[in-house]
């Protein structure tokens, strides 16, 4: 069996936790394992601060941060006899930071170069713990476009090169450690993937080899039927579909980033979420399998949102109004989470992050109210979005009636509703102080405690 194992930063805090991760890899015996690592816990944030401090010329801060980074990695490396392997990397980092300080300028490209040291250092240390070989994502074959800090892989080329590079090494039985999160352009400049980056590296490697499974080790057991802080009887989901996992990720579950699941879903590589600190737990297996007869799998809530309603009689039967609303929001970079519009009402409601409320309001008032397209913009801050997710809901009548019946019985007022045409999710908007009640009611209604 070929497995890709990815360890997040929380699993790589110090020499002890690294030793534990190495034992999890070694525990697979004759299986062929490619290990993908994030930077050690907290290191990426320090590197981001370091790069900025260098460009700003705050030398004391640079000195302190470099000192901490040296100490952290030297200490961990010493435990595995890897001091000589980390020394050249740390000295390269010193040089790079001095260079950024000298020109007082931080480009996205040099930002990526600085940040990459987190994974490059952790890979070298983990490789020493495994008696294996450390490679960067780029050396392993991953090529991206040149959007530094937000790079996208050239998927087909990367998968081909991953197979070409890693298969022969695996056949030699050599433990391989690949840096997550970082890759390179076709010209060899270092790039980073942005959010969900290390998981994306893992699924790319998994799809490229191809692996039998990709295991994502983190500090959670897997996907839950609800947040156990709201619903104490919430249960671990043993098996979900890619579509469900992607949807749950969108709603803020401690899932994988939807982008990271894409290569696995497309190339049908099963992904297993597992807990480093609880390795006896089987975790959550994510596959493209059919729904297992259950309808609703999970109840989630998205906090810190605001409901914005754009209303006015002039909007009735006026083509293009929705386009103007979304253009206005897009132009100020507002991320729309839920959209709702009724046929008869002269209004469009959107849910956006509360943090983006001010720019959204100004943009809508300036572009729509001022020009007479809409009469007013109404704001409901302090709202949450509650969602029920399940691939098995599609085509089953009566789910919506049960959802809203259960919520109504607990006297929770529903302010807006949306359902995608895939019928994978029904979501609705409630006052923030009522969302926990709604989640509990739905968890009980669909018997998710098992």
């Amino acid at each position: 069996m070929t497995i890709v194992m990815k360890f997040g930063g929380s699993s790589l805090a110090d020499a002890d936790t690294i030793r534990h991760c190495a034992a999890l890899v070694r525990g697979r015996g004759s299986d062929r394992v490619v290990t993908v690592v994030s930077a050690m816990a907290g290191v990426t944030d320090m590197l981001i601060e370091l790069a900025q401090a260098a460009a700003d010329g705050t030398r004391m801060r640079v000195h302190t941060l470099l000192g901490k980074l040296h100490e952290r990695h030297e200490l961990a490396a010493r435990a595995f006899g890897a001091s000589e392997a980390v020394a050249p990397l740390l000295s390269q980092l010193d040089t790079l930071v001095a260079g950024i300080g000298a020109v007082s300028e931080l480009t996205p490209r040099s930002h990526d170069a600085v940040v990459s040291f987190g994974e490059r250092l952790s890979a070298v240390i983990v490789a020493a713990a495994l008696d294996g070989h450390a490679m960067t994502g780029h050396e392993a074959g991953i090529v991206t476009d040149d959007r530094h800090t937000q790079a996208n892989p050239l998927m087909k080329l990367s998968l081909h090169q991953i197979r070409e590079t890693l298969q022969p090494r695996l056949e030699h039985g050599e433990p391989i450690v690949v840096t997550g999160f970082i890759a390179g352009t076709q010209h060899g400049a270092i790039t980073t993937f942005g959010r969900g980056g290390s998981d994306l590296t893992a699924t790319l490697v998994g799809a490229g080899l191809p692996a039998d499974e990709v295991w994502i080790w983190s500090d959670v057991d897997g996907l839950m039927s609800a947040d156990p802080r709201i619903v104490p009887e919430a249960r671990l989901l043993g098996h979900v579909t890619f579509a469900e996992a992607i949807e749950m990720g969108q709603f803020g579950a401690k899932s994988m980033h939807p982008r990271a699941l894409e290569p696995a879903a497309e190339y049908r590589v099963p992904v297993r979420m597992r807990n480093t600190f609880h390795p006896d737990c089987g975790g959550t297996l994510i596959t493209d399998g059919q729904p297992n007869g259950e309808t609703v799998r999970s109840v989630l809530r998205l906090r810190g949102s605001a409901l914005v309603t754009i209303a006015g009689a002039a909007m009735v039967g006026q083509p293009g109004t929705a386009a103007r609303v979304f253009q206005a929001l897009a132009d100020v970079g507002v991320n729309v989470q839920v959209i709702s519009q009724t046929v008869s009402e002269a209004g469009i409601s959107v849910v956006i992050p509360a943090s983006q409320l001010d720019p959204a309001r100004v943009a809508l008032e300036n572009r729509l109210v001022r020009t007479g397209v809409a009469r007013k913009v109404e704001i409901e801050s302090d709202i949450d979005v509650v969602a029920v997710v399940g691939a098995g809901m599609a085509g089953v009548p009566g789910i919506a009636a049960r959802v809203f019946g259960a919520v109504a019985r607990r006297e929770v007022n529903v302010m807006a509703i949306a359902q995608g045409s895939s019928e994978l999710t029904i979501c609705f908007v409630v006052k923030a102080d009522a969302s926990a009640t709604a989640v509990q009611a739905l968890h009980a209604e669909f018997g998710l405690a098992g």
Binding site: L154, K156, L157, S158, H160, Q186, H187
Partner: protein
């Protein structure tokens, strides 16, 4: 248009000869005045920003076995990728020999060209058979054109015909004779009653077969063409591993004779249906696929259009060079009409 050629063997030389012979007509009809700014062979390269003298290229290659000895222009032992990236060419013609044993050099040539923004015409089948989806992605990402019509059917526009057919109709299946060498061997075994070894020896003597004919005889060459066809025309992300391959090595004469008695012929056939297969198969004598000597034949079965067959020479330096020229002109016209 400035052109770099990597691989200056039979096809590379035939191409420059063709460009020279047809220069007047190409300029009149297409405004096409190609300059060869780099020619690379195994021992070095000849470089000239103004364009190399084609007569000198051919003469030196014939006398010295390399273009690296041309006075002033020749350089021995070069880094091919560096030359490709820095020679100032608009288009790279990749014409190194197809060797499955080591596909990497050719793949590196193509990647270097795409990275540097060169359009590419590949005659070499191997990079396409091994890494087509990734190479096309890299070409698209760099917004350059990637043409390879000479890889299947040499001068015959097999891929173009099939793509045109697939536009308005649907290709249900394909049966094809795609390797001239094996067709010649099987044809001689039938016509002259030769056994396999004698027919192969004759093919080698006439220059149809390489001195190491295994890629042809074992079906690998046909399998590579099958993979390219499947990717390009049928949009299937196939690789060589997806093709079931059998060759014709040591095929007994009796098999040919038994088939002939039943009014049938044995051909090394590529079949692209639900599965991709290459192997000796019996076909109807005098049918569309029963081509003599070293010819090729491709028969498309279309949902509405019925059987469409293209027959003709599918190998040879000049024939392949015309395929390259077709691709070069295609790029030239596309560049001119780009917005």
């Amino acid at each position: 248009m400035k052109i770099a050629i990597v691989g200056f063997g039979v096809v590379g030389q035939a191409l420059v000869r063709l460009l020279r012979e047809r220069s007047g007509e190409l300029y009149r009809r297409h405004g096409f005045a190609p300059r060869i700014v780099a020619a690379i062979d195994t021992r070095g390269a000849a470089l000239s920003a103004q364009g190399l003298d084609i007569a000198a290229l051919l003469r030196t290659k014939a006398s010295d076995g390399t273009v690296a000895t041309i006075p002033d222009c020749g350089v021995s032992r070069v880094d091919n990728e560096q030359v490709i990236a820095e020679c100032g060419a608009h288009v790279l013609v990749e014409a190194t020999p197809s060797s499955l044993r080591d596909p990497q050099p050719a793949i590196r040539h193509l990647k270097a060209a795409f990275r540097a923004g060169l359009h590419v015409v590949s005659v070499n089948k191997v990079p396409l058979a091994v890494a087509f989806p990734g190479l096309r992605e890299l070409a698209d990402y760099n917004r350059v054109m990637f043409r390879f019509s000479g890889t299947v059917g040499a001068g015959l526009p097999v891929l173009a015909l099939a793509q045109q057919c697939a536009l308005g109709d649907e290709i249900l299946s394909v049966r094809a004779v795609l390797n001239g060498t094996t067709n010649y061997i099987l044809w001689r075994m039938h016509e002259a009653g030769l056994d396999f070894a004698a027919a192969l020896a004759e093919a080698v003597r006439l220059g149809y077969a390489e001195t190491d004919p295994s890629a042809d005889v074992d079906g690998v060459d046909t399998a590579m063409k099958t993979v390219i066809f499947a990717n390009v025309v049928l949009d299937r992300a196939a690789t060589l591993a997806d093709v079931q391959v059998a060759g014709i090595r040591d095929l007994p004469r009796e098999r040919i004779a038994t088939a002939a008695a039943a009014g049938r012929r044995v051909k090394l056939l590529a079949e692209l249906g639900e599965k991709l297969r290459v192997g000796p198969q019996e076909i109807e004598a005098h049918g569309p696929l029963d081509v003599p000597a070293n010819l090729n034949a491709v028969s498309l079965s279309l949902r509405h259009g019925g059987e469409v067959t293209l027959r003709g020479p599918g190998a040879g330096g000049v024939e392949t060079a015309t395929g390259v020229l077709r691709d070069l002109l295609d790029i030239w016209h596309a560049l001119g009409s780009a917005p």
